[in-house]
Amino acid sequence: MSEVKYFRPKSYKELNDLLDQLPDFFLAVAGTTDFIPATRNGAPYPDAILDISQVAEFLLIKKDDLRISIGAAVTMADLFTNKIIVENAPALASAAKSLGAPQTRNRATIGGNIANASPSADTAPVLLTLNADVHFLAKDGSTRQIPLTGFFQDYKKTAMRADEIITGFSFDAPASDTWSRFAKIGQRNGATISVVNMAVLISKEGTRCTDLKVAFGAVGPVPLRSPSVESLATGKIMDQELIGKCAKALQLDISPISDIRGSAEYRRDVAANILARALTDAFA
């Protein structure tokens, strides 16, 4: 049995100071709710574990002017009880509240949820509709940020480089009259992984949809936005006919597979139904 180095910096400065001690094969972890099951299932241990769950700056949720930022180590329990999130991004709060069980939510972080890049990650569709950016810090101390839409590349493949960690996310606060929803279809009510999940963000004037952002999870190798639906609906009067067309258009953008949680057919049906329901409710 080989030894694994373990680092747990308490601040951004401490983190920066130890970066050059990290071996090439290191992994950042936070709540370890994905990491531990993965290693138990045979995923290799890295040479060093960088536990970022205590980095003070990564635990913050802030709103500066219109920009909201969320640290990588913010837990689900913190997210759905945080006033800034509840008021400005209620769909993110409900996604966080839907994840796992209370014990899971007390540990699971938003950084881990995105870095782990599961197609069913519950915060992913919401962050996609919010046009969130992902912020990175590299081992050499450099930082960069990219739109989350470019982050998920393929099944469990992301734009994050091996020498990088996620430090947080940022997005513009949606206008106060935007309509939003997070929907999760699981096989049971508690501690369930999404068979399909969806986030919708709508701006409207009367029955006209002035802006629509819609994202789905677990209907393809990565969480994704639906450009077909968005371009079809934006600027249009939302009526039952258009809603039906949107539900059809969605099918072009998704490529669900059958797995032990559900068949591809079920995922297609449900994705269409919950989209139609959301559009109906938004314009009711």
Binding site: R188, G190, I260, V270
Partner: protein
Amino acid sequence: MSFKDKNFRIVGKPMPRHDAWEKVLGNVSYAGDHEIPGMLHVKVLRSEYAAARLIAIDTSAALAVKGVETVLTAEDVPNNETVTKFGQTHTVGGFEGLYRVLAEKKVRFFGEAVAIVAAKSPEICDEALKLIRVEYEPLEGVFDPAEALKPGAYLVGEDDSNLICQYKVRKGDIGAGFAKADVIVENTYRVPQVDHAYLETECGSAWLAEDGVLTIRASTQVIEHFRGIAEVLGLPQNKVRVIAPMVGGGFGGKEDITVETFLALVVFKTSKPCTMTWTREESLLSHGKRHAYTMKYKTGASSDGKLVALEVDILSDAGAYVYLSPWILLYSTVKATGPYNIETVKVDARTVLTNNIFASANRGFGGVQVCFAYERQMDEVAKALGMDPLELRRKNFLHQGDALATGRVLEHAVETEQTAINVRKMLGEKTVSDKANILIGQGIASSMMSYGRMTFLHDTSRSYVSIELDGSVTIRCGVQDIGCGQKSSLASIAAEVLGVELTDVTVYFGDTALTPLAGTTTATRQLYMSGNATLKAAQYIRDNLLNKGAEVLKVAVEDLDLADNKLVVDSDPSLAMPLAELVKICASDGVELFNLAQFNAPAREFMDFTTGQGQVFADFTFGSHGIEVAVDTDTGKAEVLKYVSSYDVGQALNTLSAEGQIEGGAIYGLGYGMTEEILYEKGRALNANLATYLIPTAMDVPDIEVDMIESHGGIGPFGAKGLGEPSSVPSAPAFVNAVCNAIGKSLSELPATPERILRALKN
């Protein structure tokens, strides 16, 4: 208030379990909590094939790992193959179940134990397991019981057929029955293999005691496996001792041997203490499951709702080894009609070996599968007749004095009809949906479930009760307490009879060396069997006490009673004497203050296999469940809005415990209805963990409203009936009946997942 005037002080009251606090405080030492200095850790190498010939096993590299004490394969087991005869004290002919400690000749299922390693730490075990080289010759296997029955099918075992056994029941002329029918309803119902999913996975420790007795302390429902373990090791039975501490859930999954023989073998080979705990994945892969069934039901009814004919064909997947499959199938065969009086009946049932995980006991023991079929079928017949489902049931329920299709007359209380009426009333009016995509439905299901073992097994139980010199009471009874309050119930019986408080009673349980053997904690038999034995023993002491009291106080025995730790004189309360004083007098006069009693269940001959006529069960518990659901037509998700349950419990020993059983049973059964299913790909379980094998969470279960009828018509102590298994039987059909009522479509397969419901809605 006392035992004498049947106005009980303790029995039938809502009492906190007398062992509850210790559990809540975490003070109870379960089988996996035991530490012995220097103990070895034991792990199992499991087959990665569902069907393969075992060519060779090379353990040398594993043995060479530092810290490894021993690596054992089938060759190292003195008697690796033993044939289990069913029955506790009597050997009943007919069926023999082959039990193998470690795989030999052919591997029969994915997860079967092939070798075991004992080492200084669990990590060293893991390392050694990786170094064991097993040469397999993969074989085609067979995974579907219907395929397994075809001529030329792959043979799972060494016999020339995969068929284990078949039963039938014949009542009247079925052809004439169907000829009389105005409607005939035919359906095929399918139920999957499911797991018990107890909190505590299989675990235990073992050591060689100073007296040379090989001692195993394990999580089990059956300490009497000490006999089987002795046979495996070639030891005399009195050189093997099994202790069952409090068990963290059994539900039938710990009825067969699990860790015991592995632990015993390591002690036998090394003389060192050892311990073993299965992972959840191992537990899911390698203990017996509830059988998957395919059930064809054809029912004929007259237009006024009288059932005139029922033809049933049951095909059961026994999995890779026989274990308890024949008995489980017999339960299903006898109960296939449900609690209904049907003019003509024809039942055929078969159980077949396949290369799936072996199936064995699971709460309901064959009564659950058929209940799904007969209760779904009742709703389908009601639909065909345009009749209310409760009305149809009421026209056909069996009542006291009626005979089952097997000819067996129901001598004891039968309150099924009342329980069905009660659940319908408790459900009340249907909730009104305020959303276009939400459909509301209600469903009920009734059931008949035996308690106590099959009567030809000549079941017995023993309990020892004594009263100490200070008036406190000791019970020694070899029950296994699997969390249902087995121990607590015995305490309340003795306390009631001897006029002491619950806290005055100490119960020693679950030890083959020190507690009289009380049989298995299975078949909903412990309250019935060991409760009666304890009642008998306590009654004996009570009689001795009262006789002596009459002599000392010079009053008639009939005038005396025991209550509140006193000898009470009914006609003159001033003469009351503290119990402790009376006990001392008895002791000095040589009056026996102890008793070892045996209770013998009413025994019968084996049923007639050519006609299926005869008595198989001594008595049944009857009850009904009612469920209201809200089905989301967007997703197929069915939310349970209301859950009500009504049982004739005979007499509740402790109303809180009885309610707990009924609520637990409802939830256990709801998982069967909604989500649970072992998914297979050619014998390999795809969801062998609790992230993918889905049991209900707290978020899935509404409040459960419980109704208890006390007919006092059971054959347990004080007229009690058994509740453990019966409380769970009708959940799944009640749930699916409610879903079908909501969506106006028929579902005939479990679990009724959102996906299946949506598919039914689409068609």
